[in-house]
């Protein structure tokens, strides 16, 4: 690096002088980047701190365990328990992942391994479109199209064929865990599919070629080489989808039924953490009620952090494996 005096000392300035890095500029630049980079941590920290202080009265008044594992939600009598919401959030997200992962993986395999090249672009475009639809549209579609369809056809069919399971018993109203889970499945499908497509691209070609050269069919090559190699990455993609499903508010609240109850049956109405916060926060007036809603936010924050951390670890493991394979 040249000292700044050299350019000002009368020496013919180089035509590239304006490109020379100056120490001050460097410092400003790196300080700026540090601020931008750190801002994410600061924002997350502020949210956490704010939720912590806001929810304080609830933890104090209700007790941590009895709040987390209580199942009553009665704002009139200041009784609050988070369990029905935690349960609803986890059940609907689990349904979403269980439905979306096989479809996404199939979709990704089709696009990267089997499908004709001309079809790849339109399908990839459709995935992007799906990702861009606002969640309230999904909710409306769910309420007016999917729920009646579930009530008239899907739920009676499930009850008839799998009715011996407690999951598919009880009255069929269309709204409930199943409806919310299926809406979420559609919503997280683009996330999982696009990440899975990327993951499949990292599978080294020689592996596949080797399998095919040894006489494997296409199907065998996929199940024996591609999928085992990509499995951790697909798992990470599923966790990313799960993270999105956990936080989805609008579409879920429109089809889940909004009843703070716990039912084994997927046909029954339930409630989720983000939905109850969105529903009740604006008009919550009691101090404990507001605090309990903030505490639910903290619980959701906790669940999301844990799952995101897991997803990050898994994705790291995958990328390491890929690098090793490429050498």
């Amino acid at each position: 690096m040249l000292p700044p005096s050299e350019t000002s000392a009368g020496v013919r300035p180089s035509p590239l002088a304006h490109l020379r890095p100056s120490p001050e500029g460097d410092r400003v630049w790196s300080a700026g980047l540090t601020v931008f980079g750190g801002s994410v941590l600061v924002i997350a920290g502020l949210i956490l701190a704010e939720l912590g202080t806001q929810s304080g009265p609830a933890w104090k008044k209700l007790g941590v365990l009895s709040f987390l594992f209580g199942s009553a939600w009665d704002p009139v009598q200041d009784k609050f328990g988070a369990l029905p919401f935690i349960y609803g959030t986890l059940v609907t997200s689990a349904i979403a992942v269980l439905v979306a992962v096989p479809v996404s993986v199939g979709l990704a395999l089709f696009l990267s391994e089997m499908g004709p090249k001309q079809l790849r672009r339109p399908v990839a475009f459709a995935i992007e479109v799906l990702a861009a639809i606002p969640s309230v549209i999904f909710g409306l579609w769910g309420l007016f199209v999917m729920v009646p369809w579930l009530r008239e056809y899907v739920e009676p069919f499930l009850q008839k064929t799998l009715g011996f399971l407690p999951l598919f018993q009880g009255p069929m109203i269309g709204l409930g865990y199943l409806a919310a889970g299926l809406i979420l499945a559609v919503m997280i499908l683009p996330t999982i599919a696009s990440v899975t497509i990327e993951v499949l691209k990292t599978v080294p070609l020689p592996l596949k070629e080797g399998a095919l050269a040894l006489g494997a069919t296409r199907w065998e090559a996929i199940t024996m080489t591609v999928l085992p190699y990509a499995r951790p990455g697909i798992f990470g993609a599923a966790l990313l989808g799960l993270g999105r499903a956990l936080g989805e508010t609008m579409a879920v609240t429109m089809v889940i039924g909004n009843s703070p109850e716990i039912h084994a049956s997927l046909f029954a109405p339930g409630y989720s953490l983000p939905a109850v916060i969105a529903n009740e926060f604006a008009e919550a007036t009691g101090a404990v009620h507001v605090a309990a809603l903030a505490a639910l936010g903290l619980v959701l924050f906790g669940i999301t952090i844990i799952l995101n951390a897991l997803a990050q670890l898994l994705l790291q493991a995958v990328s390491k494996g890929v690098r090793r394979g490429a050498q």
Partner: protein, 342 residues
């Protein structure tokens, strides 16, 4: 030529008046369509006074008014003693009335319900339309053997407050088990977000019953249930029967009274005031003056706009009471001259 004249007029008007007065308010969503009509009409009459109203919900309205971030608040449920303690100089000014109606999705129409039946349905005790208790009150209806799906609001709302206030009045069991509130622990049913969410669920679910605001039900032509009032008469919800509810209640000086289950043979039993919250003595001269004069206009000329927008105007007896309340409002310790603005 015309355009030129208009420009000149605008220019003159613009240069003649002082800086426009901007009055901000926040609160209830239920009266928002009416208030925005009022504010725009009033702005046409007095172009230098502008109102900015944010419909963020009654709870938020009370909070912002108490904190002094807005010049006036608006709420559907009157402030409770706890909230009143934080805002010592608040005055409730009722502006119009609203009603909560019971609507349903069944093959029949013309449903009538007694208080006991409505409470029984919402307590989860009457679960089928074929229940003999329903047939007793509705001899003309042939009830199908269909489950009743109860639908209610999932979001905290003044509508729920009024509805549960009514149920608590007519059913001791409801009062004990559930109580009155903007969000309550419902014994039965599904929750929909907002009037549109409840209506959506009802329309999607055969055999559903639910409650929404009268204005919303009228605009969407939903079937309405006639309810038996305190005098024993079955009354269909309408603008007239809602106004009648305010005439059947002994009115306290601060209007913080529940109008549900009101006396009077033509009073609809689930009605409520919606209020503007103002300071008894405004500190800001220009804004305080504008608010008091606007209130005077709203309880007189403004009432005529209410009915076309499906809000029930205040009955005459209440208007003359509110006149005194508005006359009693002060700006910097002095009353506002109002006779000229009428």
């Amino acid at each position: 030529m015309k355009k030129l004249a208009l420009c000149a007029m605008l220019f003159l008007a613009g240069s003649a008046r002082a800086a426009p007065i901007l009055v901000t308010g926040a609160g209830a969503t239920f009266p928002y369509p009416l208030y925005s009509k009022w504010f725009s009409d009033y702005n046409k009459l007095f172009p230098d006074i502008r109102f900015n109203y944010q419909s963020i919900g009654s709870g938020g309205g009370i909070q912002q008014f108490t904190n002094g971030t807005v010049d006036f608040g608006a709420t559907d449920a009157p402030m409770n003693p706890e909230e009143m303690a934080k805002a010592s100089d608040v005055v409730h000014v009722p502006t119009v009335l609203g009603a909560v109606v019971v609507t349903y999705n069944t093959p029949f129409t013309g449903l009538k319900l007694t208080p006991d039946l409505l409470a029984g349905i919402y307590l989860g005790k009457i679960t089928k339309w074929s229940d003999p208790a329903l047939a007793k009150v509705n001899p003309d209806i042939k009830f199908p053997d269909m489950p009743i799906t109860v639908v209610r609001r999932s979001d905290g709302s003044g509508t729920t407050y009024v509805f549960t206030d009514y149920l608590a009045k007519i059913s001791p069991e409801w009062k004990d088990k559930v109580g009155t509130g903007k969000s309550v622990s419902w014994p039965a049913g599904l929750g929909g977000k907002g009037n549109e969410g409840v209506t959506g669920l009802i329309k999607q679910t055969p055999g559903a019953i639910g409650y929404v605001e009268l204005a919303y039900a009228n605009q969407n032509k939903l079937p309405l249930t006639s309810l038996q009032n305190k005098d024993g008469a079955f009354v269909a919800p309408s603008i007239e029967s809602t106004s009648a509810a305010a005439a059947g209640v002994a009115m306290p000086a601060d209007y913080r009274v529940s109008l549900t289950n009101a006396a009077g043979s033509n009073a609809y039993p689930i009605a409520a005031f919606t209020y503007l919250l103002v300071h008894k003595d405004s500190k800001d001269e220009a804004k305080g003056d504008a608010i008091v004069k606007f209130l005077w206009w709203a309880i007189h000329e403004g009432q005529a706009v209410a009915a076309p927008l499906d809000y029930a105007p205040l009955p005459k007896a209440v208007v003359s009471m509110v006149e005194k309340t508005v006359q009693g409002l002060q700006v910097q310790g002095k009353p506002v001259p109002l006779a000229s603005s009428k």
